[in-house]
């Protein structure tokens, strides 16, 4: 599999259209890889493809919105949905990207157990056999577990989690749906989000971010992977997705590049519960 990807990268460089390609490279630790930015044929040698390629490669393209040449990205299933997410949010232009899709074989990441799209949804060239996809029954297991608790138990469960949060904003910086130019949390003058590190401020941050990305979350699991304090962040956005599923019909985000998020739409015969 790795050679096919390397050939694809070399072919991309030969075509001359691609400035650099984002992939993974080994680190001194066997069980970790770090994103690799290949600029020329020699860099392609450093490319690795193993079960530790857990970093998402898609969001780095956001930092280079006006590239001279195309940006090449090696996409697993979830990365392709991240690219689709950013394109439909108009933050990336499809013509600036050269996408090398690789059918994913599942990585060392708990989210891969409930992955429903191992085959990339958007690519210029595809490597590997597309697999049949279906939504995993475990998708909302975590949400149902919390739903089974009483309100007080739920609050205490979350209070402990948000006591741990150190507000390093890694979950925001890795999330493809969090693609604002300037995050609300950085606009201290407006006063949405205080700077203090306490449970209440952390809860405000946690809930606000869940609401902001809830209807556009592509369930790539990066937020939970990067959180140094292992907070169950995915269960917040998945709660939103579960409600959207129940209320407005089955949804999976980041599958197409013109996707209308649910909160941007309305439907006259939505359920009426505020009469």
């Amino acid at each position: 599999m790795i050679n096919e990807i390397k050939n694809a990268c070399l072919k991309a460089f030969e075509s001359g259209e691609v400035g650099y390609i984002i992939g993974w490279q080994a680190t001194r630790f066997a069980d970790k890889t770090t994103p690799l930015f290949m600029r020329s044929a020699e860099d392609v040698e450093k490319l690795v493809w193993n079960k530790y390629c857990v970093n998402s490669t898609a969001k780095y393209a956001l930092e280079d919105k006006y590239p001279e040449k195309k940006i090449g990205i090696i996409l697993r299933g979830c990365d392709s949905r991240a690219v689709a997410r950013m394109i439909s949010d108009k933050q990336l232009k499809r013509e600036n990207l050269y996408l090398i899709g690789v059918v994913c074989d599942g990585k060392e990441d708990p989210i891969c157990a409930t992955c429903s799209h191992k085959t990339p949804v958007i690519y210029d060239v595809l490597i590997g056999q597309p697999t049949t996809e279906e939504i995993s029954p475990e998708r909302f297991a975590e949400v149902e577990k919390i739903a089974a608790m009483t309100p007080d138990e739920r609050y205490n469960y979350w209070a402990v989690q948000y006591d741990k949060c150190i507000r390093c904003y890694a979950c925001r910086n890795v999330c493809p749906a969090c693609n604002c130019v300037e995050c609300y949390a950085d606009q201290y003058r407006t006063g949405w989000q205080g700077k203090a590190h306490n449970r209440a401020e952390n809860q405000v941050y946690g809930l606000t971010r869940a609401y902001h990305v809830g209807d556009r979350c592509i369930e790539c699991g990066q937020c939970e992977r990067v959180c140094p304090m292992n907070l169950p962040i995915m269960s917040q956005t998945r709660k939103m997705l579960k409600d959207i599923n129940d209320l407005f019909g089955p949804t999976e985000c980041g599958l197409t590049i013109e996707e209308a998020p649910v909160l941007g739409e309305y439907d006259l015969n939505d359920r009426e519960e505020f009469m």
Partner: protein, 659 residues
């Protein structure tokens, strides 16, 4: 640090009775930013306002909070008052301590406590109020009326009479619309031509009205007061400037095609006026009928024309003009009943005609000069069946709505038949007879008195048998089957919106319902306005109606346009949304949410390091934005904010409640 003044009103005893106003004023002094607070018996009265103005000067206040009745009552009053002072009228907040405090609570202690909370919330918000200024957008004093039927004509005349320039655009080669086709109009039975042609002539001679026939709207841009509309003037192939309308070409033209004006009952030449009393009374060549234009032969009319007006190389012209207001008066057409009702012969039987075809038969300037003759063999029919609600009130086959006017013009047709054919027998099949106007019921009674037979029931099948049209139906009042051997059948078919209304609505940004009727701003309270500022509507394009209602609506729409055009500029409300372009990511989530399509994504030049690049940002059109604030919530970054209700203002209000 800002200097806030708090003024607590007694409102006689309305507030003072259950709210200790002195304590509220006292407590207000401790709020951050408040430097002065006092109470007065009637704050909204002249002395009250004078006291406030004087205090503003004396205490050098820069924002004020008035605790009184509902802002929906006196916000305007106090803003007008502030116009006279150095404080911007929008540096004002009103705490509602009457309708939502003193009047609805009994316990004085708790009511005062709540009044203090409400005052604190208002002070917290006023500290963040910025001075706002109404901006004004210029108004082009020109109106565009789309559609030359009686609705468009009446609206254009009223607007022009008020001294404003009007452009009347009509798709056909002449104005007059459906009314020009009619013979008589109910309930007064005065001749349709006699009351509409004078108005048409007025239109052509009115100095303020520019008439553009054979023209259609190509595209609409801009917004209220500043629409720039591109109009496609279709090729007429006749130079109307020099043509005198002598009609020589018309008589000599060899090709004969079906006349749409006469609803297919007669033929017309390829060149000619739409009908005798057409305005402008000048011929036009029909490109899909004229042999010269189709395969280059003939060209007789060009040879014959004494003034050489004919020009076969004429092309469509696109004209773009600026308008302040637009009136949609596109009218209606009759439903295509052929495919919907095969059981009535589906158009096979010549003598099964529609109401408009009957109007052409009975019209003196019609193909049969007013004699009611059977189109099949031109003999005078003795027994005529009129069938109402063909396509109307029939959700399965046609339209679910009632077309309102057919009951009356059905009765009129019966009356005309009994009048013109002595000894004729008229059988009208109906579901209900609806006579919703002045002298309508009396007209219907006279018709029945004249001998028209009204049978309550629907006709199930019409078939031809030895020259007669057998109408099988039922009389549901007598519960028995009925078969009428008729010579002619008149179907009163449903009204449907004019062709192309959906594309036009799309261009104007107005909505149409699922049938295609234009959606008015409010069915009862704003019937002639639409959701888009500066676009008005009148006549049947809004829904089926008869001529009296149409003319009334035309006058109403005209008055709205005149109201708009009388002003040189239009004040836009200052409480509209504003975009902070440095933070805008151009994601477009706000664009879809705006009900008034006031937000567009545009590219602006932005320096990024050494390069300048194109960045997409949202831009708000002040004229269209009504200040609802939906876009504020769509924007995750919070860079689009409604002035007067900015995020930090509402957050301060929320924070100040529980201090």
């Amino acid at each position: 640090m800002s200097r806030v003044g708090v003024f607590v009103c007694h409102c006689g005893t309305n507030i003072a009775q259950t709210v200790d106003v002195e304590r509220v004023a006292e407590a207000a002094k401790s709020f951050p930013g408040v430097v002065y607070s006092s109470t007065y018996k009637y704050m909204c009265s002249e002395p009250g306002q004078a006291m406030i103005k004087e205090t503003i000067e004396k205490e050098n206040l820069d924002r004020i909070v008035i605790c009184s009745c509902t802002p929906r009552m006196h916000e305007v009053t106090f803003r007008k008052m502030l116009k006279g002072t150095k404080i911007n009228p929008y540096q004002l907040e009103i705490a509602n301590i009457r309708e939502q405090c003193s009047w609805v609570h009994t316990d004085k202690e708790k009511a005062t406590e709540k009044a203090i909370n409400l005052a604190r919330m208002s002070v917290a918000k006023v500290l963040l109020n910025e001075p706002l200024h109404t901006s004004s957008i210029p108004i082009t004093k020109r109106a565009l009326v789309i559609g030359g039927g009686i609705a468009g004509i009446q609206a254009a005349l009223d607007i022009a009479d008020a001294g404003h320039e009007v452009v009347l655009v009509e798709k056909e080669s002449s104005i007059g619309g459906k009314m020009a086709m009619l013979d008589k109009t109910f309930p007064t039975l005065d001749c349709s031509a006699c009351i509409s042609t004078p108005k048409m002539v007025d239109v052509s001679q009115h100095p303020n009205i520019t008439l553009m026939t054979s023209s259609e709207i190509e595209s609409v841009g801009g917004y209220v007061g500043n629409f720039d509309v591109t109009i496609r003037q279709k090729a007429k192939y006749v130079n109307h400037d020099i043509c005198t309308g002598c009609g020589l070409c018309e008589t000599k033209c060899p090709t004969k095609v079906i006349s749409e004006f006469n609803q297919g009952l007669a033929k017309r030449p390829a060149i000619g006026k739409m009908y005798a009393q057409a305005v402008p009374a000048k011929p036009v060549i029909d490109p899909n009928a004229c042999r010269k234009l189709i395969d280059g032969k003939c060209g007789l009319c060009a040879k014959l024309c004494p003034l050489g007006c004919i020009n076969f190389e004429d092309e469509d012209k696109l004209v773009t003009e600026k308008f302040g207001a637009i009136v949609v008066a596109t009218g209606y057409q009759l439903i295509e009943w052929g495919e919907l009702y095969p059981e009535y012969g589906g158009g096979k039987y010549k003598d099964v005609i529609t109401g408009l075809q009957f109007e052409r038969l009975v019209n003196a300037s019609g193909p049969s000069e007013g004699h009611i003759l059977r189109p099949s063999d031109n003999t005078e029919p003795k027994t005529i069946v009129i069938i109402k609600c063909v396509g109307s009130r029939d959700p399965k086959k046609g339209k679910s709505y009632c077309s309102r006017a057919c009951c009356m013009y059905g009765a009129k047709h019966a009356h005309q038949i009994l009048d013109k054919i002595p000894g004729a027998k008229v059988v009208t099949f109906y579901i209900d007879v609806r006579t919703p106007g002045k002298n309508y019921e009396e007209f219907y009674d006279n018709t029945r008195h004249d001998g028209a037979i009204y049978v309550r029931g629907r006709v199930s099948k019409i078939y031809e048998e030895d020259g007669k049209l057998i109408c099988l139906g039922e009389d549901s009042l007598l519960a028995r089957k009925v078969a009428v051997k008729a010579d002619m059948v008149v179907l009163e078919t449903a009204m449907v919106p004019a062709v192309g209304i959906r594309e036009l609505a799309g261009m104007l940004g107005i909505a149409v319902d699922n049938h295609g009727w234009v959606t008015e701003a409010h069915p009862k309270l704003r019937p002639v306005e639409t959701q888009t500022g500066g676009v008005f509507l009148c006549g049947v394009c809004q829904g089926p109606k008869d001529i009296p209602d149409t003319v009334a609506q035309a006058g109403a729409a005209a008055s709205k346009v005149i109201g708009l055009l009388n002003k040189d500029s239009m004040e836009t409300s200052p409480m509209i949304s504003k975009v902070d372009e440095s933070k805008c990511a151009g994601c477009g989530f706000c664009v879809k949410m705006c009900p008034y399509k006031a937000i567009t994504l545009e590219d602006i030049d932005v320096r990024q390091g050494p390069k300048t690049v194109k960045k997409t940002v949202a831009k708000i059109n002040g004229g269209l934005c009504q200040g609802c604030g939906a876009c504020n919530v769509a924007c995750r970054t919070g860079c689009i904010e409604l002035l007067g209700f900015k995020n930090n203002q509402i957050l301060e209000e929320v924070d100040s409640l529980c201090l």
